[in-house]
């Protein structure tokens, strides 16, 4: 038996979805459609764009995404631990200290490697 609160939260999700779809459909009837070649051109401050828009971008973005995955999983663990923390008492406390130390070591390693310096 799942909590009915999820159903009500789902109602807002559905209501938001319906609202956005209905509004966008209505407005697409109201707004003008006069296409010209120049209007549909990609905007590059007045210049005619040369080549594809999907350019190469710095590898840094990728590394940050990797770091994020590692840390975000940790945070999901810490948040769920924080709720039952009072029941776990000292065993849970020391366990999380070890866990946070490992987390900090990972951050220190990334820092030392110069990954989070961006440039």
């Amino acid at each position: 038996m799942i909590n009915p609160a999820y159903l009500y939260a789902g109602i807002l999700l559905a209501a938001g979805f319906i609202f956005v779809i209905v509004t966008m459909t209505l407005v697409s009837f109201l707004s003008p459609h006069k296409r010209t070649k120049e209007k549909l051109q990609t905007y590059e401050s007045g210049e005619t764009p040369i080549g594809s828009a999907w350019v190469q971008y710095p590898l840094g973005f990728y590394i940050f995404a990797l770091l994020f995955v590692a840390f975000d999983v940790d945070i999901v663990f810490i948040i769920s631990w924080a709720v039952v923390f009072k029941k776990l008492s000292f065993f849970g406390f020391f366990e999380i200290l070890i866990f946070i130390t490992v987390l900090a070591l990972g951050l220190a390693y990334a820092w030392r490697k110069g990954v989070i310096r961006w440039i």
Partner: protein
């Protein structure tokens, strides 16, 4: 006769409609208030033509937006380009489902008409997970636009959001240890039960949350994805008409959500020292608290210059995240040893002061001497260490 109205699902639908309407009205008037306040802070007048004090400006803007052409550029990937703004807005709206807007109508007794749509028992996880979906709207929109500005803007936005998401989650975990529940209603009740606002026990967590929250919603001074000087309008460059305003709506509604979480987690939500027992007044109290935070957002935008991108990332990973870890350890220690709450409060304040002093010293003393060659000799000058001069190597031309 009207008994069917009291079933939970009908109540849920009506409350959802009210919340969506209220959020959109709040968005419309936030744009007006923001323009007026920023204008006042900069010594201008701001929009004051449409109606008394510009009251009807949002209506005029809405009508204009409806009758604007919605352009889909030829280079864009059409389907994704059209879906991306919808994702942004739906996600922003549905994050509000678990926010308790007021006390139940009879104090301590729940009913279907309580001003919270769904008191999900994992409330804050719902908000965190839903709001991290917002990055999809921005990344897909920027990628599908077929524009280099958009692509770079959306990548920046994604990197920034994921960098600050970690700090944000950890900053909130300290409060969760004190409250012992993930439910937003439960967190407000825990504060009423303890008789304090958690900002007193978690000042460091509050400041970290506020900074990370501003970065999460891409607001000034962290609005790098929309930096006009560098990227035109970032991921919004190719959007026009209603699709553009849908992105704007999503941004402002996210701001309102971040403000409501700050009010709920650290400032007691709808409670105000017993005044919340009067039915209806609790909603007003909550709205006032949220409005204070929204004003803070506008104030910061008018006051602070935009931060540089590499510093933004370094700030997130090298200062915000380690401090959030320290905050979590302090809170865990205090709760585990059953110490009173003010110990973690004092420790948090001490760390804030220490960090501010350290940063100030770095700015004041971190100067280096450089020798600049000029025509007719060279001169030495002192510049801050944060400034890095470009070095050009000699090129041998043969």
């Amino acid at each position: 006769m009207l008994e069917f109205l009291n079933t939970p699902i009908v109540a849920g639908v009506i409350k959802s409609a009210i919340v969506i309407f209220a959020l959109l009205t709040a968005f419309a008037y936030m744009t007006l208030i923001e323009r007026r306040v920023v204008a006042k802070l900069q010594g201008r007048l701001g929009p004051n033509r449409a109606g008394p004090a510009g009251m009807f400006q949002p209506v005029a803007d809405a009508i204009k937006m409806i009758f604007k052409e919605q352009i889909v550029p030829t280079q864009a990937k059409k389907a994704i380009y059209m879906v991306a703004p919808i994702i942004s807005l739906v996600v922003a709206l549905s994050a509000f489902a678990v926010v308790p807007i007021g006390n139940s109508w009879v104090d301590g007794k729940t009913s279907v008409w309580d001003p919270v749509i769904g008191d999900v028992n994992i409330g804050i996880l719902w908000i965190l997970s839903i709001s991290s979906l917002a990055v999809y709207g921005i990344v897909l929109g920027g990628w599908a636009s077929g524009n280099r500005y958009s692509l770079l803007g959306s990548l920046r936005s994604a990197a920034q959001m994921v960098s600050y998401e970690t700090g944000l989650g950890l900053a909130l975990s300290g409060t969760l240890m004190f409250a012992g529940t993930l439910s937003m209603v439960g967190i407000v009740n825990a504060q009423r039960h303890m008789g304090i606002w958690f900002v007193a026990a978690q000042p460091l967590g509050f400041f970290l949350y506020l900074i990370a929250g501003i970065a999460e919603v891409n607001r000034a001074p962290f609005d790098l994805p929309e930096a006009e000087q560098e990227l035109t309008a970032g991921y919004l460059t190719e959007y026009s008409g209603l699709r553009w305003s849908v992105y704007q709506m999503a941004e402002y509604i996210n701001m309102i959500t971040v403000s409501s979480i700050a009010a709920t987690f650290f400032f007691g939500g709808w409670s105000f020292f017993g005044l919340e027992r009067i039915p209806g007044l609790s909603i007003v109290i909550f709205l006032v608290k949220v409005a204070v935070f929204l004003f803070l957002f506008i104030w910061l935008r008018a006051t602070l210059p935009r931060i540089r991108y590499d510093r933004l990332m370094r700030f997130g990973w090298q200062l915000l995240l380690p401090l959030a870890v320290v905050n979590a350890v302090i809170s865990a220690t205090v709760v585990a040893l059953n110490w009173p709450w003010w110990i973690s409060g004092l420790a948090g304040l001490a760390i804030i002061v220490a960090v501010l002093f350290y940063e100030r010293r770095k700015i004041n003393e971190g100067q280096k001497e450089v020798t600049v060659k000029e025509v007719g000799g060279s001169k030495t000058m002192a510049i801050p260490t944060s400034v890095r001069l470009a070095k050009f190597e000699k090129v041998n031309v043969e």
